[in-house]
Symmetry: C2
Subunit: 190 residues, 2 copies
């Protein structure tokens, strides 16, 4: 079992980074290999190029590496803050460039998608400051569960949504770190 | 009347660029000044920084310039392709960094938004290859009309959605260029 974790937050001292660490530690303790991609730390370039639109192949070795790894991962973890009911630009760019035709999905005859990923399960961990609004949940659920991961052929997407971060005390945050670790173990430790 | 136009497509020979040109020519012919921002050509950097999260001020002069211009524009035009039911990463990054607290909106007492933009009207021109799906429309409408432009205080957002681009013939594309120009004139020529 090899899991890919994608993290999209600019501040290494953020709750998002702590959540990613908690998940990685829990999984590795149980013998699950985790490949961690801190997109900001990697300097991931989010802008899909004209060449990529035409050819579905990238001149950027980082994109090719991400696409290859995504195709063969046994499980996915995505950790991000919710900005304007959507992922940060750097993560939208990871989707635009890496979740691409040819390696993540093929287009079917009638305009539908045929998913190519090996992963059957994804854990989506999101953080926000606004009180939970079902419309917000629906927008992000539509993006990840209804479109991106559905197109790529990942049938099970579980979501842990944590809010409000800004008003949370230490005990609450510790509980969230434990929740994230427990959810990841339940999904990926076999 | 001064209009800001934001364009987000990597290929200068794209329909998106032609649509932007058609709108600019029509408005300028009628005496409306248009400030054009081709985000790819400008090399706009989409990644919100940790400092920007903390302070709502940017160390990037391009972001400060965009924020100042957005605040005083009399009207907005946004032209973009639909990728995964959402704007390209570079445009999501423009939203993340430029549509910011302090210059585009303030937060109200109860978690709501108080819009700060002068513009009363925006024209959203989107292109796609998939057949029109109301769910797609809803996702983008939620993002722009339901959240970003609502938070910033722009009450009227008209949308021209053009699809499928990939199968369109020359006459269809010419018609779209005229439609875009006509819609822009109706909204911004006084």
């Amino acid at each position: 079992m090899a899991v890919s974790l994608i993290l999209a937050h600019p501040d290494p001292s953020s709750l998002n980074h702590a959540l990613a660490r908690s998940i990685v530690e829990a999984l590795e303790e149980q013998g699950v290999a985790v490949s961690v991609h801190d997109l900001y730390a990697e300097g991931f370039e989010p802008n899909l190029t004209a060449r990529e639109i035409r050819t579905h192949v990238s001149g950027d070795p980082a994109v090719e590496q991400h696409a290859s790894e995504l195709a063969v991962a046994d499980g996915l973890v995505i950790v991000h803050p919710v900005w304007f009911d959507a992922p940060p630009a750097i993560l939208k760019g990871w989707v635009d460039r890496v979740v691409r035709e040819g390696t993540a999905f093929e287009r079917g005859e009638e305009g539908g998608f045929l998913g190519l990923l090996r992963a059957r399960t994804a854990l989506l961990v999101t953080t926000a400051n606004a009180p939970y609004d079902p419309a917000t949940g629906d927008a992000l659920d539509h993006f990840w569960k209804g479109f991106v991961l559905a197109a790529a052929g990942v049938p099970t997407v579980e979501r842990l949504h944590l809010t409000p971060v800004i008003a949370s005390d230490l005990a609450t945050r510790r509980g969230w770190l434990e929740d994230a670790a427990t959810r990841a173990e339940a999904l990926f430790v076999t």
